[in-house]
Amino acid sequence: MATMNMVKALNSALDVMMERNPDVLTFGEDVGYFGGVFRVTEGLQARHGKQRCFDTPIAEGGIVAAAIGMGAHGLRPVVEIQFADYIYPAFDQIVSEAARLRYRSAGQFSAPITIRSPYGGGIFGGQVHSQSPEGLFTHVAGLKTVVPSNPYDAKGLLISAIEDNDPVIFLEPKRLYNGPFDGHHDRAVRAWAGRPEAEVPEGYYKVPLGKAAIVRPGQAVTMLAYGTMVHVAVAAAEEAGIDAEIIDLRTLIPLDIETIEASVRRTGRCVIVHEATRTSGFGAELIALVQEHCFYHLEAPIERVTGWDTPYPHVFEWEYFPGPARVIEALRRVMGDGR
């Protein structure tokens, strides 16, 4: 075991997999010699060689296309899109190509690729360094979408993603890279060290795709969150003094519906929290599923707390970000307080 922040844990996942499997390689913008703008690939080129960790042209569509061709020819490329906000030039390659290759070729070809990308806000990144586009990918048949919330999961999920034979969109909440963040932006920055999730095995282990984690058991209400919002949800529940059960989804597709269903059937209430914009967001899918699976157990309308349907505004970051105050309001509404 070693204490790792999320950057180190992700780096360790890549290192372990490159050590274990010569077919694993990683590339992207500034990924090689420099080690990536967030340092996730630091040292990998020196340890595994230039052919296994290298820089690419600024061409996200070309990066993903090359990964598809390599993946189809037996390699396991892990590509980095420097910010999720830059993933759109590769959207056609992801949606029309990687996601459908197995299906349209009736299994002759597949794209076992992992597309990593720092995502989400909370760092004053403005419109082009803050977005949460997971809903664009969960809408596409053939893709898996993963969002870790802590170092231990980040490493175990990334190893699972690399070993998975389907294309995986792996979104890394960049505000969590160096420490947990519960939305209290006015408080001192915290580090991962000292938290149990920061104790990470140095070797190989997996956190399976499609399995959620109950990060806080409770009886009164079920909160569904992923990424940064897991920490916001925990803070909100504690500050509101509500016995909320908090489920960290970890993988959006495939979704762990069993864990969600069992919890909501027990609590009868559900609050969904995500940072992405609201309309057609993944929260809408979660509401629909909870309604389909748990309707007769519900005691209150399902609530969702999300980013607003605006571009991510630089100066209004904290009015945009669905912080603990907004989550507490939703919790109180769903509990019937103040009505």
Partner: protein, 428 residues
């Protein structure tokens, strides 16, 4: 002023009075030389003599032969002689086999077109007049070289011996369709025959081929990748991603632009074909670039072999523009008489690839009209027999389909719960 020690002339501003304002003609929109109702006109296509283009060594620096991006590599002359430094020495039996592959491709296209018209399938796309582009390439490559084709390289599959019946079952989306009825007609896939799954989106596979080639280099294989794209789709970003990445990583890949003059109703000038050649797009990124008579099977073969050797020797990628002509509509949904002269295909200056190879074989004394007539009849018979067999497994709209349950397979390697549930919802 100096920069890096090089003196640069001081800029001189012209006096304002010296500037003559240009006439206000508005936005320039390129137009083809002829439209329906006017005489076809290919005077814009410069035709160098066969044999005139020089053949560089495969390890020459691309900067030493840039003129080949603007030239036109031709081997077969008007009389059917193979001339010049690009003339390959090929076993005459292989040439006869290539001619047969072109004849089968043509007969196949004809038959499948009529099958669509007869309501046996939804859609079809012919490659008539462009057969040398794919058959010539197949002759120069091995089956272990992965091809990333467009929807007009069916000749690759035919040359590589993929069964016609399997091709037709895909066209009919029937019970024996190797792709289980999931893809539109002509979007074939056969890993075994080195034929990558056709997407149907334009250009996307050009850059994937570079990735495949990069994997070949990474694994230190001698196999290579080859890709095709239409003149129209060179305007897509994927084309430029492919060129940049192929050049940067010296990917062992052959990048072919099939300039068949028309992208549905848009002539090549709408993709920038009037400004410079499509081959010349390679020069800016430092790739070797060849412009080739795509209706001359020997030239196609020679250029592809040259590029393949370059790639196999780890010298990197080559961009080849195959100049050809789309004789038929874009697809069965298209009517080319609405946007180009009806007789334009008949006056295409590079002629017909089948006739040109035939003339060469006659010239060599190994082929004659009677043999050609017999071979044509044999190709048609072969296609007819295959069609009969394929139709026995069903045509589109018949009850003979892949199982409906299979619709939910292969979305993921393992079916997730939500797809299982949706399959149940459909009642299967």
């Amino acid at each position: 002023m100096t920069r890096a020690g090089i003196a640069t002339p001081k800029p001189v501003s012209p006096a304002l009075d010296d500037i003559v304002p240009p006439p206000l003609t508005g936005l320039r929109i390129p137009e083809p030389q002829a439209r329906p109702g006017t005489a076809p006109d290919f005077s814009g296509l410069v035709l160098p003599h066969a044999g005139a283009a020089r053949r560089p060594a495969v390890d020459d620096h691309p900067g030493l032969f840039r003129e080949l991006a603007y030239d036109l590599i031709r081997v077969l002359d008007e009389d059917g002689n193979a001339v010049g430094p690009w003339a390959p020495s090929l076993d005459p039996q292989l040439l006869c086999a290539a001619l047969m592959d072109m004849l089968v491709t043509r007969a196949y296209d004809h038959r499948m077109y009529r099958a669509q018209r007869a309501g046996k399938t939804s859609f079809y796309m012919k490659s008539t007049g462009e057969e040398a582009v794919s058959v010539g390439a197949a002759l120069a490559l091995t089956n272990a070289d992965m091809c990333f084709p467009t929807y007009r390289q069916q000749g690759l599959l035919i040359s590589r011996g993929y069964p016609l019946v399997d091709m037709m079952c895909q066209i009919y989306s029937n019970a024996r369709d190797p792709l289980k009825g999931r893809q539109m007609p002509v979007m074939y896939s056969s890993r075994e025959h080195g034929f990558f799954s056709i997407s149907g989106n334009l250009g996307t596979q050009f850059s994937q081929a570079v990735g495949w080639g990069m994997a070949c280099a990474y694994k230190r294989e001698s196999h290579i990748a080859a890709a095709w794209i239409g003149d129209g789709a060179t305007a897509e970003g994927d084309f430029h991603y492919a060129l940049t990445m192929a050049a940067v990583y010296h990917a062992p890949v052959i990048l072919n632009v099939v300039n068949n003059q028309w992208a549905i109703s848009s002539f090549h000038g709408i993709a920038g074909g009037l400004e410079t050649t499509f081959a010349a797009r390679g020069i800016g990124v430092g790739l070797p670039a060849l412009r080739v008579d795509g209706n001359d099977l020997l030239a196609v073969y020679a250029a592809t072999s040259w590029a393949a050797e370059r790639a196999r020797r780890n010298l990197g990628a080559t961009l080849i523009e195959m100049v050809t002509y789309r004789r038929e509509g874009h697809s069965t949904s298209d009517d080319p008489t609405r946007y180009r002269p009806v007789d334009e295909p008949d006056v295409w200056p590079l002629g017909d690839p089948v006739e040109r190879l035939k003339r060469h074989l006659v010239r060599l004394g190994i082929w004659d009209d009677a043999q050609h007539a017999a071979a044509t009849a044999q190709a048609e018979e072969q296609v007819k027999a295959a069609a009969k067999e394929a139709e026995g497994f069903g045509t589109l709209g018949s009850d003979q389909r892949p199982s409906v349950a299979s619709m939910f397979d292969d979305v993921y390697e393992e079916m997730p719960w939500h797809l299982r549930r949706q399959r149940q919802e459909l009642g299967i």
